[in-house]
């Protein structure tokens, strides 16, 4: 119902959509990583994002550590949390049935949320934007520097991701495990180690997502579920397990939400995301980029 049909407005909506979508994409990539190695949905994924954000707030705002150093420390710390989670809660479970593992991730998510509450308190924490709040102008539309950071970091992650899984031995081993764990094990790949690695990577990506989004949305201990839901939606739309699909789907969902909010009504912004999810589930239950064959073989 908007009277503004101009190109500038459209461009602004697309920027907005890309920014929202980038966050969904990163959370979705985290979901996929663990899904590929274990066949489960890690419901503590949103908590990794929260931990990353809160840790970054403490390091930069209270301890006054420089941004790049704080970034590295935070990602390292959350990665360790991911590894510990796998070592102490996922690894010892025998037999590791899908249901059991998912319930464990729920427990871990409650634990992480509670610890974050005790440590950082209940209020929301804010953090300064990385490079100021002076907006850039691109063809009449404006964009905040933080949004550019988000795009840039997403691109770097995707590039690193493609390199890692296609050109390194460890990455290829992880892919092998996700395709056929037994065969991979027979070929001499330590599948347990790959599971641990997948938790580490997914926690790391979660932390990065938390770090770059906190200056915009602030962070509090209970934010995990909200961040997780949309990311999960993107993962399903893109095809569970397909990380490039997750990125495309995340951006797509973000842009459609922004366009819907801009041109139709902002009251139904969240509904657009759900609508896309439902349509995809009805027409292509394996996701836009997922393979039907592959999804039939999965336990879940």
């Amino acid at each position: 119902m908007s009277s503004g049909g101009s190109f500038t407005d459209l461009l602004q909506f697309i920027f907005m959509g890309l920014q929202r979508g980038s966050i969904y994409a990163m959370v979705a990539m985290g979901f996929n990583m663990i899904y590929n190695s274990t066949g489960i949905i890690n419901l503590a994924q949103g908590e990794f994002v929260v931990l990353g954000g809160l840790m970054m707030v403490s390091l930069t705002m209270s301890a006054n550590i420089s941004l790049p150093l704080a970034f590295v420390i935070t990602v390292f710390f959350v990665t360790i949390v991911g590894i510990l989670m796998e070592r102490f809660t996922i690894n010892p479970v025998k037999p590791p049935t899908v249901m059991r593992l998912i319930i464990i991730t729920v427990a871990v998510s409650i634990l992480l949320k509670g610890s974050a509450m005790c440590f950082w308190g209940k209020e929301s924490h804010y953090m300064k934007h990385f490079s100021g709040t002076e907006p850039f102008e691109i063809m009449g539309a404006t964009i905040l520097p933080q949004t550019l950071w988000i795009f840039g970091i997403l691109i770097i992650i995707v590039a690193a991701f493609i390199y890692f899984f296609n050109f390194t031995m460890t990455g290829k081993s992880m892919r092998a495990c996700s395709i056929n764990r037994d065969a991979a094990r027979l070929a001499g790949i330590n599948d347990r180690k790959m599971v641990m690695l997948s938790f580490a990577l997914s926690a790391g990506i979660g932390a990065i997502a938390g770090i770059i989004v906190t200056p915009i949305i602030q962070m509090d201990y209970s934010r995990g579920a909200l961040l997780g839901i949309k990311g999960f939606g993107a993962a399903v739309v893109g095809g569970l397990g397909n990380s490039i699909g997750a990125v495309v789907a995340g951006l797509l969902v973000g842009i459609l939400e922004a366009l819907g909010g801009g041109y139709i009504s902002s009251h139904y912004m969240d509904a657009f995301a759900l609508l896309i999810l439902l349509i995809v589930l009805f027409i292509r239950p394996s996701g836009i980029f997922g393979s039907r064959e592959a999804s039939r073989l999965k336990e879940f």
Binding site: S2, S3, G4, D9, Q12, F13, F15, M16, Q19, R20, I23, K122, E123, S124, H125, Y126, K128, H129, T133, P135, T142, I143, L144, T147, V213, I216, I217, Q218, D220, S222, R223, L226, L227, K230, A258, L259, G261, G262, S266, H267, M269, D270
Partner: protein, 383 residues
Amino acid sequence: MRRSIVFTTVMTVVCLFFAANLCAESDEYRVGCAFAVTGAASWLGEPQKNTVEMLAKEINDAGGINGKKLVLYIEDTQGDNTRAVNAVKKLIQKNKVSVIIGPSRSGTAMAAIPVAEAAGIPMISCASAEIQLEPIDQRTNIFKVAPNDSDAIRIIYDHIVARGIKKVGIITGTTGFGAAGRTLMLEMAPEYELEIIADETYSPADTDMTAQLINIRNKGAEAIINWSIVPAQSIVPQNIRQLKIDIPFYQSHGFCNVKYAASAGESAEGTIFPCGRILAVDTLPDDNRQKPVLHDYKTKYEEQFKDHVSTFGGHAYDSLLLVVDALKAVGDDPKKIRDYLENAKFIGTGGVFQFSPTDHCGLDKTAFEMLTVKDGKFVVLGQ
């Protein structure tokens, strides 16, 4: 023989128990509190619990009320309706309190109201929804100390009308607070001859509101009102600045959190919003009647809990002081307390209260002060 010994022992214990209860009752005043101390609304309940505990200690250290000890029974509702009902039942039936303070959230208050009403125990709610007191003839025991949302809208609309503005764009969060504000703003606009030309919303998880704001701009709004209580509301001023929309910007009293202003940074400068005076005590004129009580509460709270004082804790402060006044005047009979409250006049942190049999809130739009953000701090507008 043995049986009779057992029987006697049991009966003695029972008698002693009741006797102890009777004795206890005679030298103490029991006040029940039901706050959302933990859970999603803990940012409301925690300062409330801290506040009443701090006050009770102070009162008892000074010798209590009428020589009797003030005993608080604090229950945690976790912001949950069922738990709130159980908490209030427990306070009434088990703890035998004479008056209840709380609950913290409007939803839990609505759930607990019938219980207190049926038991005839006065309840001073710390939640803001006006519907709590309606209809007044079925809410004879219910009072509230939180200011009315509609009064916050009145003071904003007054300000807008005084500037000669006719067309307003509203943007609201999709939480209960935002939705209630949206309905009220739409309802009350005709009264002020204002036209709501754009009505947009955003969810608490949104990261960018440029689409909504572009619509508001394109429809020709002359002022924007942002009504929300979630942190996401601080993105709105940033996006307004980003889009170079240069029209007056108002926020609700949900913006009354210094951190929200800090998060919005420079963009928040000049934002106008109604708020309880507690957050701008230092910039209030010295002749303000509330200033001494506000200053007193702020100093004590911040010293003891090393945390910023909030309007929500203030509601508990006002409630307990009202109760103490009532206990001093009429003792601990619930009926008499109710009658006292219905005619109470009281200067608290929330405003100058003037209760009456038809007005159980006792506050009007003067409870709010228009504040603005100046150099990252909340100051009284025009100072």
